[in-house]
Amino acid sequence: MTLDQMLFGVFPYLAVVLVIVVTIWRYFSDRFSYSSLSSQFLESKKLFWGSVPWHYGILVVLGGHLISFLIPRTILAWNGVPWRLYVLEVSALAFGLLALLGLVMLIYRRATNPRIRKVTSIMDIVLLLVLLVQVVAGLWTTIFFRWGSSWYAGFAVPYMWSLIRFSPDVSLVSSLPFMVKLHIFGAFSLVALLPFTRLVHLLSLPLSYLWRPYQVVIWNRRDSRRN
């Protein structure tokens, strides 16, 4: 088995199994540990300039990846007209840079503030560094290998679908430049890291807040309340 087959044919499955099994296991065995582990209470201003750009940037970029993954042909058709391609590429770059800016701020904050250092675990450092590599590789791809949005839809998406069909087509990625390969490997590393880090917080997105009533009353003896 070649290295490429290991990294792009086997590792993705390992990552997905890990994320499913460990996340569920962690949820049921140690729910207390599910938290955003916010450190805003100890330092607020720099967090604002880190967390807000980071999250808006990364969520839009991730959303873009997801949409293109679901409807690659539509994206290719959209990119058929040059100005539409530029709009897409420039927005992707802008949000990517926003995420990078935020991430650098978050890393700087963790490294320099003694209070924040006190609530930084090894996994926090690992996560932030992997994210940094991932974002830099992504931006590198956007800037130096034009036009990413098109060949992502043309190469990466078919590769991911081949994974889903359980017949990984490694040839689709093995010819790609190093930085792109790094980006793909980084993505699955993050999937694998998710249950071992604070990244579990993104599974806790409390959507039910949208429809639940403001007040929550819990009765110990439910049957005793007839209405």
């Binding site: 729910r31 938290s35 100890l42 675990s121 071992f196 929550v216 110990n220 309340r225």
Partner: protein, 503 residues
């Protein structure tokens, strides 16, 4: 009518001696862990003062509690919204909560490097124990601490910035700080276990809830995800963020103690015996309309929500809702019911925050009216109600605290307190005119019997009269049966695994 029970509280401020025993009792049981050093679920502030966290009452700064929607858009009337956020903004603010206080708004907790006193090598100087931050472990300069402004210490910085001075004119403010007239009193505070809690409403994860049977408001540590919106939304700043565990925590009204028939630690230990605890029954159907009432009706309407536990209709409805007889019985004996509803003496703190707080206060009479005469502390008894106009603390100030600025309302309470006092004075000292005192009673609507009962329950109550703890009936659904001290220095009460900070 939806009759529910609330374990409710009353603090008699005339009796508070500012000893902080309550705070220490609470800290020793619940907040002596890493991450909670700065938390004082029970704290005692000097008023006037800026309080804890600094200027917590200033909702321009902290954006806690509710406000009328009509303040923003006059057309949709009578409905309220959280000052800090609505549901949409709740999501937008997940990544950074703009109204979250930081630890510096409270104080950075510290200890001293005591070992240096023993381990330092011999030298010319005495070794000293330097202050060490309990967060970073580094040496630090102490800039603030709990009760930094106790007894008006540094009053030019602290007391002068009291948010409750908002309604006072410059001259009135100045008069407040004249040396000879200077006056202060204590304000002990715990979570109010509100009927319309902002903390519960703000939590996106639904981690906070009000217990149906007794109304205690809790944070479920297993559901909390550290979004910290509850901290921002509580106008009393009584939810605290544990910086170590990444979860929010708050006063639990010592429910493990209540469930075993003991008064909460701060109540039990109170040296001044200022604290009363008992059940009140209320109509939960009225929560929304009361919370969105015009400001000057808030106190009255909240009182109206509280139901007469001896009324057969109320009892029937309560039973239909599944309330146990023993709880209704406890409600009938509740000292809080008497002070709040029957005698209308106790008032909620800052009702204008619209959370419908269920901790009530009897405003202090002595420091407000008392003065120094020939070296003796005295009250101008002979002036009857007139003394209220000469009060050292303007009624306006007390109104800001307890009646959403309604001076007449707080004055009515004071007149009653004075009338009871005069009544006892005629009886025991006999130096006042009986007719005048009778006139005072008439004006305030008090009878001689009521005065006697108020006097008894204020001055001579037994332990059992102060704390009428309803049986919690955990035999029906056990959350915890056992000795609360088992969990001392732990987070929460009983986890299958040790609760430690997540990865």
């Amino acid at each position: 009518m939806d009759v529910r029970a609330q374990v409710s509280m009353m603090f008699h401020l005339d009796k508070c001696i500012g000893c902080h025993t309550c705070s220490v009792a609470c800290k020793n049981i619940w907040t002596d862990r890493e991450g909670t050093e700065y938390m004082w679920w029970n704290n005692v502030e000097t008023k006037p003062g800026t309080g804890y966290p600094t200027k917590w009452e200033d909702q321009e700064k902290y954006k806690g509690g509710w406000k009328l929607k009509s303040e923003d858009s006059p057309e949709d009337k009578d409905k309220i919204k959280l000052r800090a956020s609505d549901k949409g903004r709740g999501f937008a603010n997940l990544f950074h909560q703009p109204n979250l206080p930081t630890i510096d708004d409270y104080y950075e907790p510290w200890t001293y490097k005591y070992n240096d006193l023993f381990d330092s090598p011999a030298g010319d100087d005495q070794p000293t124990a330097r202050p060490i931050s309990l967060i970073t472990g580094e040496p630090m300069d102490i800039e603030a601490g709990p009760n930094w402004d106790d007894d008006m210490g540094g009053s030019t910085v602290y007391a002068a910035n009291d948010p409750d001075f908002a309604d006072l004119t410059m001259a009135e403010k100045k008069a407040f700080f004249e040396m000879e007239r200077m006056v202060f009193f204590y304000l002990p505070r715990i979570c109010n276990h509100c009927l319309n809690p902002g903390c519960v409403a703000a939590c996106p994860s639904g981690a906070l809830h009000k217990r149906g049977e007794d109304g205690i408001v809790l944070v479920n540590q297993n559901v909390c995800r550290g979004w910290r919106h509850c901290v921002a939304a509580c106008p009393y700043k009584k939810v605290y963020y544990n910086w170590k565990s990444g979860k929010s925590e708050k006063c639990i009204l010592c429910f493990p103690r209540l469930e075993t028939g003991q008064a909460p630690a701060c109540f039990h230990s109170c040296v001044g015996r200022i604290r009363y605890l008992g059940v009140v029954l209320y109509d939960a159907d009225l929560i929304e309309s009361t919370a969105s009432a015009p400001e000057d009706e808030l106190v009255d309407l909240q009182r109206e929500m509280i139901l007469d536990p001896s009324d057969p209709d109320v009892i029937a409805q309560a039973k239909r809702g599944g309330m146990h007889d023993s709880v209704i019985d406890a409600a009938q004996k509740s000292p809080v019911y008497r002070f709040v509803k029957e005698w209308e003496l106790a008032l909620p703190l800052h009702p204008e925050f619209r959370t419908l707080p269920m901790l009530f206060y009897i405003p202090p009479l002595l420091p407000v009216l008392g003065r120094l005469e020939n070296g003796t502390y005295t009250i101008d008894e002979k002036d009857y109600f007139g003394s209220l106009d000469k009060a050292r603390v303007p009624m306006k100030y007390m109104a800001r605290l307890f009646t959403a600025g309604n001076e007449e309302h707080v004055r009515k309470t004071y007149e009653k307190l004075l009338a009871v006092r005069m009544h006892k004075r005629v009886e025991q000292v006999g130096d006042l005119n009986q007719d005048d005192v009778d006139g005072m009673l008439k004006a305030t609507g008090l009878t001689v019997e009521m005065c006697e009962e108020i006097y008894r329950l204020t001055s001579l109550p037994t332990f059992e009269e102060r704390f009428v703890i309803p049986p919690m009936h955990r035999e029906y659904a056990t959350e915890l049966m056992g000795d609360p001290y088992t969990f001392k220095a732990e987070t929460g009460v009983g986890f299958a695994n040790k609760p430690k900070r997540g990865l």
